[in-house]
């Protein structure tokens, strides 16, 4: 048997409340009853917000249950015409996008030549990035090419955006093209 990256115990610890459900099931209780009651307990008095799965292009509906500023449960949206409450493994585990310890919670900065990240505040990051963008853009800006006004910089690129919301992709496209960026690409190509 090949080594797992996380062993069963770590896995149970990591997944908190759900682990209890799994453990009870393993002891041989009626799975359906336990599932139903545990579901009730966890989501009692929670706030339910509809969302759309962030993974593939099927666009399944998901209900997010929140309570005390935690995501306590997620489930397929039974009212959604495409998935009618069903989800695949990715949609099912969407709650862990919030609960996982791997999330980056503060801006991180890596100086040239450094071997580590340093946490910084947002304002510091914004201002330093803006300065670097301006520096590069000013040094490389091409106003005219063969007599034609071209207003571009070919030394800055922007990549990605297929997981962003429409409103975000709109602002991204407007901002990058507004800056004169022509190396503008995203995952539709790859």
């Amino acid at each position: 048997m090949v080594e797992m990256n996380i062993n069963r115990r770590q896995f149970l610890k990591l997944t908190g409340a759900t682990a209890a459900t799994l453990a009870i099931v393993e002891l041989g209780f009626n799975e359906k009853e336990v599932y139903a009651s545990s579901k009730e307990l966890k989501i009692a008095k929670s706030t339910v917000t509809p969302t759309i799965c962030c993974y593939c292009g099927v666009g399944c509906g998901i209900l997010v249950h929140t309570k005390n500023n935690q995501v306590v449960y997620t489930e397929g949206d039974p009212d959604h015409p495409v998935n009618e409450g069903k989800l695949c493994s990715k949609g099912t585990t969407i709650r862990q996008l919030y609960t996982t310890e791997k999330r980056v919670l503060k801006p991180r900065y890596r100086a040239p030549g450094s071997s580590e990240w340093v946490e910084k505040d947002w304002e510091w990051m914004y201002e330093r990035i803006a300065k670097r963008v301006k520096e590069t853009r000013d040094a490389s800006f091409i106003e005219k090419e063969g007599g034609i006004v071209v207003n571009k910089t070919e030394r800055i690129a922007s990549l990605g955006g297929a997981a962003l919301d429409n409103e975000e992709t709109y602002l991204l496209s407007k901002m990058m093209r507004g800056l004169g960026i022509v190396y503008l690409e995203h995952q539709a190509r790859i």
Partner: protein
């Protein structure tokens, strides 16, 4: 997708080729299974017996990179057995058009090829026109220069024996597929083709899709319920992000980005060159001017060409591989990355990682530390002290920690509400973009250089509080409004080219037609007929669910069959009516001019069997992949003669003598793309924890490899180590009498996250399609050996 997920239930036959929806779009399969309950058939064509194959009625294997022979053979089968829908073909496609004298095809090349530039003179492929400029036609389809006859001749070479000799498909399986799918050519029947990256990620990717298009037009399957050509999108909003102009060549709404060419020097010149004389695109000036008003606001005036000159004009291909090639040569100083991880997902990923170290600065916006934002770390195999790139990692929040809409494969623009505050200090990308834009603009405020002028002119007023814009203001700008009164426009029919309307993306115009009615928020799930759910969210354009639906009715406006009715002409009401929003001018009668031309976005109003605008030919022709285990049996042209080839160390080419095995990449259900959104989660990481290489029992035996052995896969680009997964799902292909092995591997893995493994894309080449430059991930050469 021309059609949509729920519509799959209406199909009589689904041909799944270059996709594996049971694995990668699992919930979509519910609708295919529904179709089968209604008597429909599922056909899977794939190099590997996939999860979709296991659910199919018919399975046919083929060697990666031989889709055109396969589909070309089906086209020939449909013609030879007269299974095509003759009236549809004659009336609704350009099969009846005559091609100018001089058009020719010889030994793999169409007329007009220039070897020095590796390109075609496309004027050699033009239609013969009548005095009024419209193409001459022969609806009997008998004229030797008619598209139909030229097509028939072209595919006469794709006979069954040649085809199966090239593809390695057992003859009986190939014939079963032909028989099942071509039976949908009858009126009253509809077949759908479902494809994904297995189709597009080839040096002939565009022509693979074109071959589907020809077949579907021949069988009269476009515009019908249960029909269409359906690209299964792999990412929740790759549809929307493309619609909004995140590929270099297109502004929002597929209006071409201006180029540094004399014809584009002015707005007037651009519009003259780029506005066709026919089709709905005659409205392009309204779309572009309204977009310029949205981008430059009060700074867009008639006097300054509505700010047209502020838009950057490129002079070359800036797509992904060119971008990394330039970066590798030190031609780029800075880069923004929004939720993307090319060190795992990019082709020839080892080179792409190297390229990053040439940047002076990089801004990564992500939920995680990815292999890309951490490319400078020791764990990445780098020496941090030698890398001078300044890296900024800005934490983004997840999709349910913010609000906004995404467009699924069906073009449904669905709203997502905010369930919880962003975790920690993470923020919505909307806020991050606004934060960056406002600060950059502030630095230029008091300057007047040309660089300053262009960015100062950009209109950026989104209200809200702090850095977070008011999303409603963004939505209004996308939909469009009256420049003076601010009143929302009903849809894109209201747009004008005189600067009096504002609209950020015309194809979405109509989703927010009046105050308080953002239609992407609709949740009425009553089936309005045909499974179209017209009151659930909003489908662009104009809430249409089935594109080209006029073609589901015969020229006189009656449905071809009652079973497959979508819209029809109502002579009493004098308008098109039915179960969907007509993809047609609703009041144009079949007897009026244009009333029988269902493809309103196409120049001639018909579907293109012959495509004179593509770079590599008007008909799909087989060329072997850039790296192929065998010579091309169709002509002396080994690979696509119009692909762009990078020289030097950036892209080493593997030879079949050293690398005799075909390699391909794929995905598993539990992971997603480069894995950053799934390998950072506990459950999915446990469900699918390891990088593996899948191979046949035959190859394993030849190489002395057992299941779960550690093995090394090598290509001209690099080597990776992984576990062997020996299965019956791969079988050697018999190609021209020789045994050709193929292996497959997931491309999700990297060294970050809970589930780690070597990156498959270290093996894939920097070579791409002749039209889109999408990399050829799906067919490359490699070799395997045991690790010990």
């Amino acid at each position: 997708m021309t059609n949509h997920w729920n519509d799959l239930q209406n199909t009589d036959c689904a041909l799944i080729m270059g996709a594996n929806p049971a694995e990668n779009h699992p919930i979509s399969f519910r609708w295919l299974l529904k179709a089968r309950e209604n008597g429909g058939k599922i056909v899977s064509v794939d190099p590997r017996f996939t999860r979709s194959s296991s659910q199919a009625d018919i399975y046919a294997p083929l060697r990666s990179g031989t889709d055109i022979p396969f589909v070309g053979g089906m086209i020939k089968y449909a013609i030879d057995h007269k299974l095509f829908h003759k009236e549809y073909v004659a009336k609704y496609t350009n099969a009846a058009f005559l091609v100018k004298e001089g058009f020719d095809f010889k030994d793999g090349l169409f007329s007009g090829y220039d070897e020095a530039t590796r390109s075609y003179d496309k004027t050699k492929w033009e239609f013969e026109t009548a005095e009024d400029g419209t193409p001459k036609r022969d609806e009997t389809l008998e004229h030797p220069r008619s598209v139909f006859q030229l097509m028939k001749k072209h595919y006469s070479r794709y006979d069954v024996d040649t085809v199966v000799n090239v593809t390695g498909t057992p003859k009986k399986d190939f014939l079963k597929v032909c028989d099942a799918f071509c039976s949908t050519g009858k009126p009253g029947k509809a077949g759908t083709i479902m494809y994904a990256m297995g189709t597009t990620q080839h040096t002939v990717g565009t022509q693979n899709v074109r071959a589907f298009g020809i077949l579907q037009l021949l069988l009269g399957n476009i515009g019908l319920p249960g029909g269409g050509i359906n690209a299964l999108r792999g990412e929740s909003n790759v549809q929307g992000s493309t619609d909004f102009g995140l590929l270099f060549g297109d502004l929002p709404g597929y209006v071409g980005a201006p180029k540094a060419i004399p014809e584009h020097a002015t707005l007037k010149g651009y519009l003259e060159k780029e506005t066709p004389k026919t089709s709905y695109w005659t409205n392009k000036p309204k779309f572009l001017v309204s977009m310029l008003k949205a981008w430059y606001g009060p700074n867009a005036t008639k006097e300054n060409e509505f700010g047209y000159q502020y838009l950057p004009k490129g002079n070359k291909n800036y797509s992904h591989m060119m971008l990394f090639n330039t970066m590798h040569k030190g031609g780029l100083d800075g880069a923004f990355l929004f939720g993307t991880n090319p060190v795992v997902g990019g082709p020839n990923a080892g080179k792409e990682k190297e390229a990053l170290s040439h940047l002076k600065w990089m801004v990564a916006v992500d939920l995680w530390e990815t292999e890309t934002s951490a490319f400078w770390q020791k764990e990445a195999g780098s020496d941090p002290s030698k890398i001078d790139t300044e890296v900024f990692l800005l934490p983004a929040c997840s999709s349910f920690e913010k609000e906004g809409s995404v467009s699924n494969s069906s073009r449904w623009m669905q709203y997502r509400w905010k369930a919880i505050e962003p975790k920690g200090e993470s923020k919505a990308d909307l806020e991050i973009l606004n934060g960056l834009a406002t600060r950059i603009k502030k630095l230029y405020k008091n300057e007047s250089s040309p660089a300053a002028e262009a960015i100062n002119a950009l209109h950026w007023e989104y209200g809200g509080h702090g850095d977070h814009p008011d999303i409603d203001v963004v939505c209004r700008e996308i939909n469009g409004y009256d420049a003076v009164t601010g009143k929302l426009v009903e849809n894109f029919n209201a747009l004008l080219d005189d600067g009096s309307t504002v609209c950020g993306n015309w194809i979405y115009s109509g989703f927010y037609p009046e105050e308080g009615k953002n239609l992407s928020k609709r949740r009425d799930n009553k089936d309005t007929g045909g499974g179209n759910f017209l009151n659930w969210s909003y489908a662009w354009p104009m809430n249409r669910r089935i594109l080209y639906n006029r073609a589901a009715a015969d020229p006189s406006g009656k449905p071809w069959s009652k079973d497959k009715a979508v819209i029809w002409w109502d002579g009493v009401q004098k308008k098109w009516t039915g179960y969907d929003v007509p993809d047609f001018k609703a009041v144009v009668a079949p007897t009026e001019p244009g009333g029988q031309s269902p493809f309103i976005m196409m120049k001639d109003g018909v579907g293109g069997v012959f495509a004179p605008s593509l770079n590599d030919g008007p008909f799909p022709e087989h060329y072997e992949p850039y790296e192929s285990p065998v010579p091309n049996m169709f002509s002396r042209q080994e690979s696509n003669p119009t692909i762009m080839i990078f020289g030097g160390s950036f892209n080493k080419r593997g030879d079949r003598s050293k690398f005799p095995i075909v390699g391909t990449t794929y995905r598993v259900s539990e992971h997603w793309q480069s894995g950053s959104m799934t390998r950072n989660q506990e459950w999915l990481s446990e469900l699918s924890a390891h990088m593996f290489i899948e191979m046949s029992e035959e190859l394993a035996e030849e190489k002395g490899i057992k299941n779960k052995d550690k093995i090394i896969v090598s290509s001209a680009r690099g080597e990776i180590t992984a576990y062997a997964m020996v299965t019956k799902r791969f079988k050697p292909h018999i190609v021209d009498g020789k045994k050709i092995h193929q292996i497959g591997m997931p491309w999700h893995f990297g060294y970050k996250g809970f589930a780690t493994g070597d990156t498959a894309n270290r093996l894939t080449p920097h070579i791409g399609d002749a039209n889109t430059t999408i990399p050829e991930y799906k067919a490359f050469l490699c070799n395997v050996r045991r690790a010990d």
